[in-house]
Structures are given as structure tokens and as C-alpha cells.
């Protein structure tokens, strides 16, 4: 008990004892890196998105206007694409958490070789190249592929099955891709819930469902929110999986951005779409985190 607290105190003393200048110097490398490689390109992207037309040799700096945003926000086609992106992100997040949460809970309650086995199985997808993983699913989902063979052997389906290029298939593959991150975050979060509190609720007469809803979920809310944000932002902005699994059938914003940027060579519109995607993801994650924090009264209580 005393040693982590002692370490914390000395870290605080360390920070308090340093003058401002030293703190700034210590932060300088990461600030510089962020400025050069994140904020500057972002500003350039925002700038680019307000160009009325594609810059050319003759007109390297076209006049500024909001025409691209007007075009996106007034055209049902783009709104539809944005909605699909949000839907893909949302469904993937729900599916990932629904599967990862019980797995993570189970992992925290076991030990020894069983725990090692499940942990390794959960983490393995991280070590497989993303494209290899997606192509594996591609083969499984092909018409007359393994999934269909199993289903028809069981007598559940007949004839050709259009799994590829479907919305559920996209969500399934995105879920597979992001599962390890969610499990990792949720395990550490669930690990921090003292078993005594769960036992206390059991002895007070609570059913398992009630214990999960009343005790475990509120106490692991920070982990749930963190993994939801991670999975949502990664899957809503994923490009590889939609292009390989969904093809052009399921239109999401990243596909549009790529196609305007490289095929149709309309950089300002691509930039505007990228900014729209960024704003949507940031706004949704912020609102979600705020709502969940309010729901779990975060900040009002501390762990005891």
C-alpha cells in the first residue's frame, strides 16, 4: 500500500519542485512532434477543404469558400454515406463490447494455463497482418466458401449465399479486428473490481444480471468508455476492411475520401469529407463519454 503512494508523492514533489521552464523543456520533444506532424497537417487539411476548386499549376491558391461543406451537407448521398459510417462504427462497437466484456470478465476469474490460453487466443489477431486477417475472412465468406458449406451442410441455406459485400459481414470482420484492444482494456478494468463487492451483492440477494448492471458495469465504466471510443473511432475510419469486404457496395466516408483524393483528384472535397468524418467521430465520442460519465456519476465518488 505504502510504496505506490510513496512513489506518487515523490513524482508530485518532483513536478512541483521544477520551475516552469524545465517542465516545458521536458515536454518540448513531444509538443514539437505533435505540432509538426499532427496539428500542422490538420491545419493544412482544413485549409485545403475550403478551396473552391482543385489547386492547379495556374491557380495554386484558389479562392476560399465553404462550397465543399455546402455540397456535402445538402446532398442526401453524402449524408447517407456519413450515416452508414456512423452505423458501421456503432454496430461494430456494440458487437465488440458485447463479446469482449464477458470474455474479459471470464479471464479475470480464472488462472494458470487456462488464462494464458484465452489471453493468447484473444491477442493473436494483433500479431497477424491486417490484410492477411481480412483475406482469411474473405475466403471464409466467399460464395460457396467455408461458411456457406457449413450452413448448407446443416440444411440451413440453399443456393448461392451473398455474404461478402454485405453490411453484417463488414461488421463481423471489423469486430474481429478490434476485439483484442477491447479485451485488453476491459480485463484491466474488470480486474480492479474487488471480488468482495460482488460477493456482498450476492449475499444481499442480487441476481447475476443485477450485479452486472448495478455493480460491475458502473465500476468498470471508464474501461467500457475507453474501449468503446477506441473501437468506434478505429472502425468508423477504417479503410482497408470496407474496401476488401464491403467493396463499393457499402459506401463509407473513408472510401469516399480515398476516391476523391486519388481517383477523381478533387482534393478540396476529399479534405472536407475528412474534416466531416473527424468532427463526427470526435462529437459522437465526446457526447458518449459525457453521457456515460453522467450516468455513472463519475467524479462524484472515489473507489473505496
Amino acid at each position: 500500500m505504502s510504496s505506490p503512494r510513496g512513489a506518487l508523492r515523490s513524482a508530485e514533489d518532483f513536478a512541483r519542485g521544477r520551475p516552469m521552464l524545465v517542465s516545458l523543456l521536458l515536454l518540448a520533444p513531444v509538443l514539437l512532434l505533435l505540432l509538426l506532424f499532427f496539428f500542422a497537417p490538420l491545419a493544412e487539411l482544413a485549409n485545403l477543404s475550403t478551396f473552391a476548386q482543385q489547386p492547379t499549376r495556374q491557380v495554386p491558391r484558389p479562392p476560399h469558400s465553404l462550397v465543399n461543406y455546402v455540397k456535402i451537407l445538402s446532398d442526401p448521398f453524402y449524408l447517407q454515406v456519413a450515416a452508414t459510417s456512423v452505423l458501421v462504427g456503432g454496430c461494430t462497437t456494440i458487437a465488440t463490447l458485447a463479446i469482449a466484456y464477458p470474455i474479459a470478465f471470464y479471464v479475470t476469474r480464472i488462472a494458470g494455463w487456462e488464462r494464458t490460453l484465452i489471453s493468447v487466443a484473444c491477442l493473436l489477431p494483433i500479431f497477424v497482418n491486417v490484410i492477411v486477417g481480412i483475406l482469411g475472412w474473405y475466403i471464409l465468406l466467399l460464395p460457396y466458401g467455408l461458411v456457406q458449406q457449413v450452413l448448407s451442410a446443416l440444411g440451413l441455406v440453399e443456393g448461392s449465399l451473398q455474404l461478402l459485400r454485405s453490411f453484417p459481414a463488414l461488421v463481423v470482420v471489423l469486430t474481429y479486428e478490434h476485439m483484442p484492444f477491447a479485451v485488453l482494456i476491459l480485463v484491466s478494468s474488470l480486474q480492479a473490481v474487488p471480488i468482495d463487492k460482488i460477493n456482498a451483492a450476492r449475499l444481499l440477494g442480487a441476481s447475476t444480471a443485477r450485479i452486472v448492471a448495478n455493480i460491475i458495469m458502473p465500476l468498470t465504466m471508464p474501461g467500457l468508455v475507453a474501449s468503446a471510443i477506441l473501437v468506434f473511432s478505429l472502425s468508423a475510419s477504417s479503410y482497408l476492411t470496407p474496401i476488401l469486404i464491403g467493396g463499393q457496395r457499402i459506401r463509407v466516408l473513408p472510401l469516399m475520401i480515398f476516391s476523391y483524393g486519388t481517383e477523381l483528384l478533387n482534393w478540396p472535397l476529399a479534405a472536407a469529407l475528412a474534416i466531416v468524418l473527424l468532427v463526427i467521430v470526435v462529437a459522437i465520442t465526446y457526447l458518449f463519454a459525457a453521457a456515460m460519465n453522467r450516468l455513472s456519476k463519475r467524479g462524484q465518488w472515489e473507489m473505496v
Binding site: P194, D196, K197, N199, A200, A201, R202, L203, L204, G205, A206, S207, R210, N214, I215, P218, L219, S296, K297, Q300, W301, E302, M303, V304
Partner: protein
């Protein structure tokens, strides 16, 4: 002791539990009557908390049966056992305020909200914590959290209250206060209570009966007075308070008494069962049972000659170290109301009341206990 089915709240029948082949509880049997306060006392690792968890249903026994209200309850899930439990960590729900914490056992049973409000107020009165309903556990002191945990365990009116070292996280002064308060609450509600503790003081202050455990077994189970004054073996004697332990030999047996000898020391004691001359015994005498007096005065003729080696003033009493020949004895005495206490180097006479000497057969491993 065997109780009728209506009287027996808890019965353990030869219950055993092992963890990865390591036995934690070995063949424990005990029975608790309605309203009784029983304490499982023992050093850490003696199996007392495991026993409590077996009663709570948080663990399943490997063999033996747990009876609740006279019914076998081995497979009864914890939430249907109608028990209240206060954990060592108190296990309050940090994200719920005091009201919701205490009300939890009722709200999961869909009791009406007016009834819940009434009973929470009742419980807060019982544990003397009015007006903290809206606070979160982290805003309360340790003692207050402890009371909330107790209120939460009692609000469902359990048949049996389990206390798992509930006072071990409190400071010494607060612990004393809570011991007395727990006693009061117990007698007020007459709730059958099973306490687990390693503190002999807690056990002596609060219990109707004490079960002393060692290495997964119950060594003895009796009233605090009898466990303290007539311990069945050396371990129980040493665990509950201090004692002068003397290895002696029986010199002679006559009419229910034995004459014991050790080096130059000779004294009489009540005869243990099956005593015979020449037998080796361990004798325990509690320091407060040795009586000291000056070699002059009316009692000068009685007792054994001794020299005071050391006198430690401890406020309410004085702790003497005596030498009788080569033998060192610890004596606890009240400071004399008039006159001076013994000083180091002074001569004294010691008397040993026969009824206060406890004799155990000398055991093989006992020398190292």
C-alpha cells in the same frame, strides 16, 4: 450440544475444504443457537475465514454438510441463504451513496420505496449515523464506513450475521468503541452472529462462545471464561493471553490433587484426568493468577521464596519478572492502593492458587509453540 431443528440457525457437520490439495478446513463441526454470538478465533491461515465463506456459500465444502435453519444448504446459492455479511474491507459500493448502499438488499427484492425509506432510517438510527444518506462512502471515515456496512448487512433482517474481521481496519480507540457497540446491537436485535477474528480481545469482549481454530481444526469451543481459564491445550492457552508455561513432573497423586515438581520448585495443583506419579506435564499459570506478598507480615509463612528481577510500570498494572531459583516467572499485579510496589532486587513470596493452575499432558511438538 445438540439443538432442535427450530433452534439451530447454523450447523457445520464435519466440513472440510482444501485449496489445490492444501487443506484449509479439516472436519469442522459446530452448532449455533438462535441469538448466539459465536467467534471463530485463530491465527492467520487457521481456516477461520474459509469456514465463514463456506457458511456464506461463497465456497463449496469438499466434504461435510452446512445446515442452515436445520436444512442442508451445501448447494443453496448465497443470495438465497438469508445471511448478512460484513467484510473485512467492508465492500461498500463506492458509486452508490449511503442510502443506496444500505437499501441495496431491499431494492433487489422489490420492496416498496416508502418501506425502504423507513427501514434505512431505522438502520441509520441503529448504527447512530443519521443524516449521511446522501454521502458517498469515500466521503466517510473508516468508522462510519464500518457502520454503513453493518447497517447494509442488517437491513434484510438476516437469520445469521457474518462478521469477517470487521474491526481490523480501524484504529485501536475506534476498535474498542465498536466492540462495545457491536455487543449492544447484538443484544438489541438478538441476531445470531458469527464473528471471525484473530484478536483475542475482540473474541473475549463480544462472544457468548469462542471456537479457537488451529491449522483448519477447532481446538476447543466454549464460553470466553472457560476458554481463558481452562484451556484444553497449550496452544489455546498461549493464544488467549499470556501464561507462564512450566514443564513439570508429577511427584505424587492424592485425593484429586497432584504434587508437581520442577527443579527446586514444588507446588500442588488439581489433578488432570489420568494423572499418575512420574508423568510429565505442562503447567500454565496466567501472570495475573500469581499472588505476590512481602516476606514480612501475616502471610509470611505461605508461598515460595522469590526475588524480583524487574518491575515494569504499565499504568493500570505492574508487570514483574520474578526469579525462583533458576526459574523466571511473569507476574501481573495491580499497583498497591497504599504502600510501595516491589522494587527490583527485593525479596517476595509467591502463592499459586491451586484452582488457577492448568495442566496439560506434555505434547511432542509443544516445546516450540
Amino acid at each position: 450440544m445438540t439443538l432442535g431443528a427450530s433452534e439451530s440457525v447454523l450447523r457445520l457437520d464435519n466440513v472440510s475444504k482444501a485449496f489445490q490439495g492444501q487443506p484449509a478446513v479439516r472436519g469442522v463441526s459446530l452448532e449455533m443457537g438462535r441469538g448466539e454470538f459465536l467467534t471463530l478465533l485463530g491465527p492467520s491461515g487457521c481456516g477461520k475465514t474459509t469456514s465463514l465463506n463456506l457458511v456464506a456459500g461463497l465456497l463449496q465444502p469438499d466434504s461435510g454438510t452446512v445446515f442452515l435453519r436445520g436444512e442442508p444448504a451445501n448447494t443453496l446459492p448465497p443470495r438465497h441463504r438469508r445471511l448478512g455479511m460484513v467484510f473485512q474491507s467492508w465492500a461498500l459500493f463506492p458509486h452508490q451513496n449511503v442510502f443506496d448502499n444500505i437499501a441495496y438488499g431491499l431494492s433487489v427484492r422489490s420492496v416498496s420505496s416508502t418501506e425502504i425509506r423507513k427501514r434505512v432510517a431505522e438502520m441509520l438510527g441503529l448504527v447512530r449515523l443519521p443524516g449521511v444518506e446522501g454521502k458517498f462512502p469515500s466521503q466517510l471515515s473508516g468508522g462510519m464506513q464500518q457502520r454503513v456496512a453493518l447497517a447494509r448487512a442488517l437491513i434484510t433482517r438476516p437469520d445469521l450475521l457474518l462478521l469477517d474481521e470487521p474491526l481490523s481496519n480501524l484504529d485501536a480507540a475506534l476498535r474498542k468503541e465498536m466492540q462495545v457497540e457491536l455487543r449492544q446491537i447484538h443484544s438489541e436485535l438478538n441476531v445470531t452472529t458469527l464473528l471471525v477474528t484473530h484478536s483475542q480481545e475482540e473474541a473475549l469482549v463480544m462472544s457468548d462462545r469462542i471456537a479457537v481454530m488451529r491449522a483448519g481444526r477447532i481446538e476447543c469451543i466454549d464460553t470466553p471464561r472457560r476458554v481463558y481459564n481452562r484451556p484444553p491445550n497449550r496452544f489455546v492457552c498461549a493464544f488467549l493471553g499470556d501464561a507462564n508455561m512450566l514443564e513439570c513432573e508429577i511427584e505424587a497423586v492424592f485425593a484429586g490433587e497432584v504434587m508437581l515438581r520442577r527443579n527446586g520448585l514444588r507446588f500442588a495443583a488439581e489433578a488432570p484426568a489420568g494423572a499418575r506419579a512420574g508423568q510429565k506435564l505442562t503447567v500454565a499459570i496466567r501472570p495475573e493468577n500469581l499472588l505476590l506478598h512481602r516476606p514480612t507480615g501475616p502471610e509470611a509463612e505461605t508461598g515460595i521464596d522469590a526475588i524480583v528481577r524487574d518491575a515494569i510500570f504499565k499504568g493500570s498494572h505492574i508487570q514483574y519478572a520474578l526469579m525462583i531459583g533458576e526459574e523466571r516467572l511473569e507476574v501481573l499485579a495491580l499497583p498497591p492502593v497504599d504502600g510501595e510496589p516491589f522494587a527490583p532486587g527485593e525479596r517476595a513470596r509467591v502463592t499459586v492458587p491451586k484452582s488457577r493452575i492448568v495442566a496439560f499432558p506434555a505434547e511432542a511438538g509443544d516445546a516450540h509453540v
